[in-house]
Symmetry: C2
Subunit: 224 residues, 2 copies
C-alpha cells in the first residue's frame, strides 16, 4: 500500500572507547550508575535490531536516536526519537520490539540490563525508577495515540511543539531528522510534511531559514 525504498544501512563502525560521560538529567539509577561505557554511532548506524536479545539498556549522551519497526507492507513506523538524556531500549520481554538507529552521529551510554534488573529486586528505589521510566514511555505512547487521530496539520504542529519543548532553545529548532523520519513518525507522507511546512511558513506561523531549521513564530497558532 505504501511501498517505499528504505535506505540501506551502512555498516556500523562504532569506535568503542571505555569512556563514562556525565549526563545532565535525573532519571534515577541510570544517571547514578557506575555501570556502562559510552559508544559512538555514526548516522544511520544500527544500535540494535528488532527481535535481538535485549541485553542492554541505552542512554543518549549526545546526538539523536530513532527506534522503528518495518511493517509487513514495507512502511516504516518510527517509535520515538530519543534526545540527549533519554533512555531507550528498556524492554519487558527479552527481545527488542523495535530496532534502534542513530539519526545523527550519537554517543550512547550502554548499560547491562541484567545488572539493572537484578539490582531492582534488591533496591526498591531502583525498581521504582524503572517503573517510572516505563510509565514515562507509556505516557509518551498515549500522547502519540491522541496525536495520530488528528489531521496532518495538527500532527506536524504537535511535532514541532514537542521538539521545542524537549529541547528548549528559544524559538529556533534544529531538527536532527529528515522529512522522511518526521513523516514516518507522524504517519503521513514526506510530501504532506513538506507542504504543511510551506503552508505554515506562508501563514507566518513558522519560518524555515533552512530545511533543518524551524523558527516558531506563533506558538498559539500551532496549538490551534
Amino acid at each position: 500500500m505504501h511501498p517505499r525504498e528504505i535506505g540501506k544501512h551502512s555498516t556500523a563502525r562504532a569506535d568503542r572507547r571505555g569512556v563514562r560521560d556525565d549526563t545532565t538529567d535525573s532519571s534515577g539509577p541510570l544517571a547514578r550508575t557506575t555501570l556502562g561505557v559510552s559508544i559512538k554511532f555514526g548516522p544511520n548506524v544500527e544500535i540494535y535490531g528488532e527481535g535481538e536479545q535485549a541485553e542492554y539498556v541505552y542512554k543518549v549522551v549526545s546526538g539523536t536516536v530513532r527506534t522503528y519497526k518495518i511493517l509487513a507492507d514495507g512502511r516504516r513506523q518510527i517509535g520515538s526519537f530519543y534526545l540527549r538524556g533519554d533512555v531507550f531500549g528498556l524492554e519487558f520481554g527479552n527481545v527488542h520490539a523495535l530496532s534502534a538507529e542513530a539519526v545523527t552521529e550519537s554517543k550512547v551510554l550502554v548499560i547491562k540490563r541484567s545488572a539493572l534488573v537484578s539490582l531492582a529486586t534488591r533496591d526498591s528505589e531502583v525498581a521504582r525508577d524503572l517503573w517510572t521510566l516505563t510509565g514515562r514511555e507509556l505516557a509518551r505512547a498515549q500522547e502519540r495515540v491522541v496525536l495520530l487521530i488528528k489531521t496532518a496539520q495538527e500532527r506536524v504542529a504537535a511535532f514541532l511543539l514537542e521538539m521545542a519543548e524537549r529541547r528548549p532553545a528559544g524559538d529556533a529548532i534544529e531538527l536532527p531528522m529528515s522529512r522522511q523520519d518526521i513523516a514516518d513518525y507522524l504517519g503521513v507522507t514526506i510530501e504532506t510534511v513538506s507542504r504543511t511546512f510551506t503552508i505554515m511558513e506562508r501563514r507566518s506561523v513558522i519560518a524555515l531559514p533552512s530545511a533543518r531549521t524551524v523558527v516558531l513564530r506563533d506558538r498559539a497558532a500551532l496549538r490551534q
Copy 2:
C-alpha cells in the same frame, strides 16, 4: 473540527456489595490480593473521571470497561477497552489521565492503590508485577500507534482480530460496544466503521447476523 454530541452520563447507581470474586487470570498481586471489593456499574456509568485522584486500581470481573479522554475540540478518544480479567486505572502520577466508564453492566474489583504501592516497596515480586502490568499497557499502546498509521479498513480489521484474540470464542464475536465506541477507538467516524463492515460483509470476509455480532469468515483476508 469533529464536533459531536457526547452522550450524557446517567448517574452512577453502583450497588456496593462486599463481595470478593474469584477471577481466572494470573496477573500477580492483583489476582492474589485479599484486598478490595467488587462493585457493579451499569452501562455508561462513570467509574472515575480524568483528573481525579487515583486512589484505586481496578480489575474487571465481568462486563467491559472503556477509558477515554475528551479532546479540546470535543472529539472523544478511547484509550482502551478492558475485558474480564484486565486491570485498569493504574497510574504513575497521582491523578487519572483518562476517565473510565462501564460499557455494559460490569462488575469491577476495586483495590486500594496505596496498599499496592507500599506493598511494592517491600515485596520485589509485587514491584515486578506492577512493572509487568505497566509494560503490558505500553505494549498495547505501541500496537495502537502502529494501528493508527494505517487505513480505515486495516484499522477495523485489526480491531476485529484483536477482539477475537482477546475473547477466544470461535469465529463469532459479540461486540459489547457501540459503533461510536469503535470509531472513537480507531480514530475514524461511525460512518466509516459501518461502511467498512458492509464492504467486508459483501466480500464474505465477515458476516453480520446482528449489529453487535460479527462472524469472522476469512481471517487471512483480515490480516491482509
